[in-house]
């Protein structure tokens, strides 16, 4: 594509949480950008910092126990440093968010119609009639049958898939340029998941917005993402266009993860297991390759002292140099 338009730039972002007077980085030095008309997937296991990254972008962290440094540049604003009242103008208007569990994200005491029009009240000058119209239009857009009835219903009256559609309707109500979707389909059945993913893709193609999709499901990534960043222990360890990542993964972590998926078309083999555990936030090694403790058979000098992202092919970045020495035979030997 010739005209890649940059939408959001994250530069050296650190998000740290306070545990007993010490701040620990949950997201460490992440630099990534989101382009217009693109779905950027951020993948990783629980505790790798992917949701922390998402909430940092939307500014939903508890300000007392969290410290955010670095830059999140959107238009001419640095979202990491602006005041809360200014953020209120951006959140919901320019950045929409879709949460994992629609039942706990929706207010159980407020009718669907009101919940969707809430952001319209704040961010637009619509009259009441216009808002009503827009809500119906939105519900139609996300494929909810009989929207006139649904606006008067409460969240518990809808099924899980319908609730997630309502969440999406809320997120896109003000036509945001960026949508942050934090595990949008994890709580749903596969058939509903497929529908929601198709819907997200359609909406994205229509509005040309950028979507940051946080997920742990590599299948979902393969299904709709354009570009993927794999996170491990607070860092991006690999970043590549989607086909490149799945066809030509480099980092040992990415390769092990892909090998540990029970595949539809593979036969009864042993699944790949990654040795050891993800270190907890407090015990994270702050120096050297984060993944080294999971690949103990690799020699220490195959890792870089201060691993950085290297571009191995256009658009494909890998952290550290240990991938050059990693193969599954040696992993077996190490087991």
């Amino acid at each position: 594509m010739a005209n890649i338009e940059n939408l959001l730039t994250i530069k050296n972002l650190h998000t740290s949480f306070r545990i007993k007077d010490t701040y620990y980085d949950a997201v460490e030095n992440i630099s990534i950008n989101l382009n217009k008309n693109e779905i950027l997937a951020i993948v990783g296991e629980s505790g790798c910092g992917k949701s922390t990254l998402a909430t940092s972008i939307v500014g939903l962290h508890d300000p007392i126990n969290t410290k955010i440094t670095g830059e999140i540049l959107y238009k001419d604003l640095n979202l990491a440093a602006i005041s809360e009242s200014k953020f209120n103008d951006v959140r919901g208007n320019d950045i929409g968010m879709i949460f994992q569990d629609p039942l706990s994200a929706l207010n159980p005491l407020v009718r669907i119609g009101e919940q969707i029009s809430e952001s319209l009240v704040y961010h637009t000058k619509f009259t009441k009639e216009q808002r009503k119209e827009r809500v119906i239009e939105l519900l139609n857009q996300v494929g909810i049958p009989n929207p006139e009835r649904v606006v008067r219903q409460f969240p518990h009256q809808l099924s899980g898939g319908m609730r997630q559609r309502v969440m999406i309707a809320i997120a896109i109500a003000c036509k945001p340029a960026i949508i942050v979707a934090d595990e949008p389909t994890t709580a749903l059945d596969v058939t509903i998941q497929a529908q929601i993913l198709d819907l997200l893709k359609e909406l994205q193609a229509e509005t040309k917005s950028g979507i940051i999709l946080i997920t742990h499901d590599l299948g979902v990534v393969a299904e709709i993402a354009d570009r993927v960043a794999v996170m491990y222990a607070g860092q991006v360890i690999e970043e590549a266009p989607v086909e490149e990542l799945f066809n030509n993964p480099k980092h040992p972590y990415t390769r092990s993860l892909l090998n540990s998926i029970p595949q539809m078309n593979s036969e009864n083999e042993k699944l790949q297991v990654i040795q050891g555990l993800v270190p907890s936030l407090k015990n994270l090694p702050r120096e050297g390759c984060r993944f080294s403790s999971r690949v103990p058979w690799l020699d220490a000098n195959t890792h870089e002292v201060n691993p950085v992202l290297h571009e191995v092919s256009p658009g494909h970045f890998v952290r550290c140099t240990c991938w050059k020495h990693f193969d599954f035979e040696s992993a077996e030997g190490g087991n």
Partner: protein, 315 residues
């Protein structure tokens, strides 16, 4: 030869209402399920949420009242004796739960958690019990000093393994695994699955593997049943289900699973839309006027599908 048969199992929940709180309707959570279990095999039970797959598992082990139907275990009808302390059934059928965290008592040490079934069913001295616990911990690959710790000191995968150790403590014949890995991360999931396969080989266990993840089910199971609204829509060997799915519901499920090959994305999307269109158009072939699926019909020795026989004749 199967050691256990389930015949026409039904679990119905009454819906009460009206002035006298009378039973006005029933929820047919499980509605006529037949299964057979053979030694050393894994049986998969797949379905979307609300399809009754967990209820089936719970009804078999006895955590759920059975409305009608029978469970025959080694030639004996055990339908109403499932939770009796003295019955062999209660010892031989064990369960692994989805959320390991909430299935382990936080106030008990691992030792006491694992020892509970031993104390219930086997009369062992303290030393023997201790030895058995060490054995079990070795089986699930955990160090011996783990037994003096509490559940919160372990990670998710380790907790799930403690749950498995408890389940295998009395050498059961069948383990009902209700979504054992769906709360776990990918790499941990791989660990637990590998490990479940290992102990199956070692002890000749059978599993009833309840899951919504068709990838995991394919990896684990020899025999798969697809469930919808309390009834089986299709049941057969793994190859039957994955290579030759007959029922539209199975096809829909299979086409909805994300594949990790981004190159086939568009193709698969087309396929999904095709299946969806057929699903809309051919409803009557697969569901009767109440939206229920038909009774299972044999299409080969191992493969049964719920289709309308009358429709099939016209095809």
């Amino acid at each position: 030869m199967s050691f256990m048969q389930i015949k026409d199992l039904c679990v119905h929940y009454p819906i009460r209402g009206g002035f006298f709180n009378t039973v006005v309707d029933q929820v047919y959570a499980v509605d006529g399920v037949n299964m057979e279990f053979e030694k050393g095999k894994t049986y998969g039970l797949v379905g979307e949420s609300g399809s009754g797959k967990s209820t089936t598992g719970k009804a078999i082990i006895g955590l759920e009242k059975i409305t009608s139907g029978s469970i025959i275990y080694e030639g004996k009808d055990v339908t109403n004796q499932r939770r009796e302390r003295t019955s062999a059934y209660n010892r031989d059928i064990q369960m692994i739960f989805q959320d390991a965290n909430s299935s382990l008592n936080p106030r008990k040490r691992v030792k006491d958690i694992i020892a509970e079934p031993i104390r219930n069913f086997l009369k062992l001295s303290d030393q023997e019990e201790n030895k058995r616990i060490n054995e079990l911990l070795a089986i699930v690959g955990m160090p011996e000093d783990a037994k003096y710790k509490y559940p919160h000191e372990f990670s998710g995968g380790q907790k799930q393994r403690i749950g498995i150790a408890r389940a295998v403590a009395c050498n059961p014949k069948l383990i009902i695994a209700d979504e054992p890995v769906s709360a776990l991360d990918l790499s941990v999931q791989a660990q637990v699955l590998n490990f479940m396969k290992d102990i199956q080989e070692e002890f000749g266990l059978s599993y009833l593997f309840i899951s919504h993840d068709l990838g995991v089910v394919k990896h684990m199971c020899d025999h798969i049943s697809i469930m919808y609204k309390g009834r089986f829509v299709e049941t057969g060997r793994r190859e039957d289900i994955y290579q030759d799915p007959q029922h539209i519901y199975t096809q829909r499920l299979l086409s909805a699973i994300p594949n990790i090959e981004p190159a086939t994305r568009i193709e698969r999307n087309k396929e999904r839309q095709g299946v969806e269109a057929r699903y809309q158009a051919e409803q009557h072939k697969y569901y009767d006027e109440n939206g229920k699926v038909y009774a299972l019909e044999k299409i080969s020795d191992t493969h049964l599908v719920a289709v309308n026989i009358n429709e099939k004749g016209g095809k």
